[in-house]
Amino acid sequence: MNYLIIGNSAAAVGAVEAIRKKDKKGGITILSKEPYLAYSRPLITEFLADLVTEKGMSYRAEDFYKDNQVSLKLGVSAKSIDAKKKVVAASDKKEYSYDKLLISTGGSPIVPPMKGLNKKGIFTLLTLDESKEIKKNLKGAKRVVVIGGGLIGMKAAEGLHEAGIKVTVVELADRILSRILDEKGSSIFESYLKDKGMDIITSDSVVEITGAKKATGVKLKSKKKIVCDMVIMAIGVRPNLDVIKGSGIGTKQGIIVDNRMQTNMADIYAAGDVTQADDMLSGEKRVNAIWPLAFKQGRIAGTNMAGGTKIYEGGFAQNSLSVLGLSTISMGIVDASSKNGYEVITGSGKGKYSYKKFVFDKDTIVGGIFVEDIDRSGIITGLVKERYKVKDNKERFLSEKFGLINLDKTWRDSKLTKPV
């Protein structure tokens, strides 16, 4: 058996580990556009501020590829897939044949149209190389504008702030972190970060990047102007579908996969940020571009590629984010209220910024937000995954000592008296 994997990140590593559990002999080849062993992508913003070393970012031990007999082609991009002949053409002018193919090409940055994009000093931040490049250019820089106030934008802003730069975040929506928090949660973060010296502008957007050859400022829709030495684009990512063009592999926003992570083509699987896979809460197929699901999808794809059977029961949004010392964990449906038909319980814990929210769809728990007091929040992730039903006394979820003991006894016994 000959396995070929395109991309070398969370999903790819999950797949390699799963394949090797079932198949010790088959050949595994990885084509990796980036010239690095798999690293922790979420840490590139900490790298920017020297909070972590390049070595500290490696996702697996150095011997990982050797131990798993993986032929790793660093700096080699897949160019096209011929599903009939079962070969992939690559940038090194070679053709790689496969029996089973995994596409885990992740996402590429979204860059919205605006004037002045051709200048120097404008960066996206998705790879270690981009982080290195930004770091080099930071010498002497005083002010940076970050476009986009989502998770990646706020992590980028944090990294720059920690590196001593004055940061302005410009967000199109009326609040930052709008995909992982509700209004209250967003406003807690916004005021906390403003107190720490970060500039945050919402309900506005950059229409032009100004400067001669190099970016020296931005113009906003509101006509406001901001002087800066660098612009970082952090609007978001979309599935990177370049390599599958013309291959016949089915896509919408991402590559459509079934619950075995197989595409519409036999022997071709996809996993990670590039996929549009089952979403448990909406019942639709969605792009859920987060690390835990990328790894898990890779693990499931790998198992199935190697002849096993593992089913993806669907994912949902889950995020853990800390910015300048304030942490939040949220899961499932968070931007909900009685207005859109949900029952919502909110409260706070001990901390100054503490905020908790639990969202129920009738009796089923479907989401939660924890700000500052994030201890044991995973219990809620587990309950959302299981569609756990809560009939009465939903307020108990707010209790500081809330735990498994406050849940159904038969449910608890089923979890704690046998292997799970």
Partner: protein
Amino acid sequence: MKRVYPKEDACINCKLCEVACLVEHSETKDIFKAYRDVPRTLSKALVEEDGPNSISIQCRHCTDAPCIDACITGAMQRQDDESPVIVDREKCVGCWMCIMACPYGAIQMDVRKKDKHKVSSKCDLCPGRTMPACVEICPNRALFFEDRG
């Protein structure tokens, strides 16, 4: 593999499992010194209570562990399916993805504000021991260390 299983009806809420765990994971393993250690080790077991009921919760060492899926650094690992899930505290960056993922709330946050030290802490089934410290100390046989399949 052998795992720790609590027996709720037998738990008397004495919290000795927490004490034994903390001491076992302290530098000196000496009960008189362990509680004075700065920083103090955390117990990896937690006794939950609700009225008259109580139960000792520790890591389930799950099959297909969600904490391993979620860990962005690879600090959360296990050698193979029969080995305990262990956190490499050198590698951990305290991103709390594992806290977000663990359905049993079995991971603690080991945080020292002063030097920005933040790493996760969890049950390792007491390497080097035949019986985990919490199970051994439990005075009412409310914890079992068994292979239940």
